[in-house]
């Protein structure tokens, strides 16, 4: 499944300072849908190169990290159980830095 991932608010520093990643992520098995839970696990193991604790806490994002899917807050679309679809744009923004 092709997705666009964007990291902002300093999270880009955790993945080699690249803000926008075009990625292909396969669901766990062919019939299953890809959920945000699966995507987060994939991001953690495949994209994040350092300090994963800045991004995740437990199996979800760290409090203070905003998640937008197609410019809509993931809280409105089911959060961690939300099913992703082809060409979705997922944005992660950390608020845990000075302003």
């Amino acid at each position: 499944m092709h997705l666009t991932l964007e990291f902002g608010g300093g999270l880009d520093l955790l993945c080699q300072s690249v803000k926008i990643h075009q990625v292909d992520v396969a669901p766990k098995d062919e019939n299953a849908k890809l959920t945000m839970r699966d995507l987060l696990a994939w991001v953690r193991s495949s994209l994040i190169k350092e300090r994963p604790e800045m991004f995740m806490k437990g199996d979800t994002v760290r409090p203070g990290v905003l998640v937008l899917v197609n410019d809509c807050d993931w809280e409105l679309c089911g959060g961690i159980d939300m099913e992703l679809e082809e060409k979705d744009v997922v944005v992660f923004i950390s608020t845990l830095h000075g302003g």
């Binding site: 608010g9 409090p63 807050d73 082809e86």
Partner: protein, 361 residues
């Protein structure tokens, strides 16, 4: 197909304000689901209402916006200039930045502020630690290490902002402190047992009796919303953590607040309210406000904190003012063998003319 997926996800719901567009976010304060356009409107109106209700500004005032290039101050500068136009506040707005001299952090963020100057058409003034104190934070960290660096930086920044605001002949200084920041500070002051600052840190305006009052128009604004506003509006801001701050104590309180918010967003406003309503018993002795003997600014001690810290740096005793050693008040000269001076000469008058501020938040 994309349109189909969008509507499927939002489950046929509409913005609870305009009832026409798809919602993009849920407001932490009200849990309403609203669309982007309505979000801009309520976000800006709420800040306008805070400004009016608390009489933050008077027509004709010169207002310095403390601008770090980060999201809070960038959104503040943007929203204030927008509201100033829309509601005819009649304010002269300026951007005021402090250059602490932190390579790879502040130099980059100042580039952002310089772009903001052009984007929003607001004149910019930059004051630097090097000019004011004869030291950059890079040099200070080399001497004192990563333990108390934030103390130096905080004390110096406070005064630097006062001096910059005085230079701009500003009537007030506004800062981008948001609701999360204030709740965090209330907690920190409780943990430190700092009664003097506890109620003061929750005030929307401080220093009204001093030369330059400070106010926080984002006192009730959630960080989460500021971030979304900056993102949706594609505002140009800088977001990298200070390279010297990972050791900061504040980080723990910050994470705790975010954990609370996830469980119950209202908790942030409740903590601010607790801070506001904190009453000090009349028998508690509060530190008396006096004047720094050396530089003439507000201080509860003989010398203000910045003068003590600076004297320690200049005499090669950087622990002065950090640990509980009594500070010598003679202000004698600095040793030339100081390792980080790199032979640069700093003139004495910097010390004498440096104004100090109070040390609150």
């Amino acid at each position: 197909m994309e349109e189909g997926t969008a509507s499927k996800r939002a489950a046929g719901r509409f913005c609870s304000i305009c009832t026409q567009r798809k919602p993009a976010l849920r407001r932490p304060k009200t849990l309403e689901q609203i669309c982007r356009e309505c979000f801009y409107a309520v976000f800006e109106e709420e800040i306008h209402n805070v400004i009016i209700k608390n009489h933050l500004f008077k027509a004709g005032e010169r207002i310095a916006v403390g601008a770090s290039g980060g999201k809070d101050s960038t959104v503040l500068a943007y929203v204030l200039s927008e509201l100033n136009r829309r509601h005819g506040y009649g304010l002269d707005l300026f951007l005021l930045s402090v250059d602490e001299g932190i390579t790879g952090y502040r130099d980059d963020s100042l580039e952002t502020v310089k772009r903001n100057e052009i984007q929003y058409g607001l004149p910019l003034k930059i004051v630097s630690y090097m000019d004011l104190y004869g030291w950059t934070m890079d040099e200070i960290v080399k001497v004192i290490g990563l333990k108390n660096n934030c103390t130096f930086c905080g004390v110096f920044r406070r005064q630097a902002l006062d001096r910059g605001a005085a230079f701009l002949k500003a009537d007030k200084l506004v800062t981008g402190h948001n609701a999360d920041d204030i709740a965090e500070t209330v907690l920190l002051n409780i943990l430190r047992g700092d009664i003097a600052r506890l109620s003061r840190c929750a005030y929307i305006m401080t220093g009204e009796d001093g030369p330059i009052p400070r106010c926080k128009p984002f006192k009730y604004t959630y960080e989460k919303e500021i971030d979304k506003y900056a993102y949706f509006k594609k505002l140009d801001y800088f977001s990298t953590e200070c390279i010297y701050s990972p050791n900061a104590y504040r980080g723990f309180a910050r994470e705790f607040i975010k954990d609370l918010e996830r469980i119950r967003p209202q908790a942030i406003l409740d903590i601010i309210r607790s801070g506001e309503n904190f009453r000090i018993s009349t028998t508690t002795r509060m530190p008396e406000q006096g004047i720094c003997e050396r530089c003439g600014y507000i201080s509860s001690q003989k010398l203000c904190k910045a003068c003590v810290l600076l004297e320690g740096l200049n005499r090669g005793l950087p622990k002065l003012g950090i640990s509980r050693i009594k500070a010598g008040n003679d202000g004698s000269g600095r040793p030339d063998e100081e390792p980080t001076r790199r032979g640069r000469e700093v003139e004495r008058p910097i010390l004498e003319s440096k104004p100090c501020g109070t040390l609150d938040f």
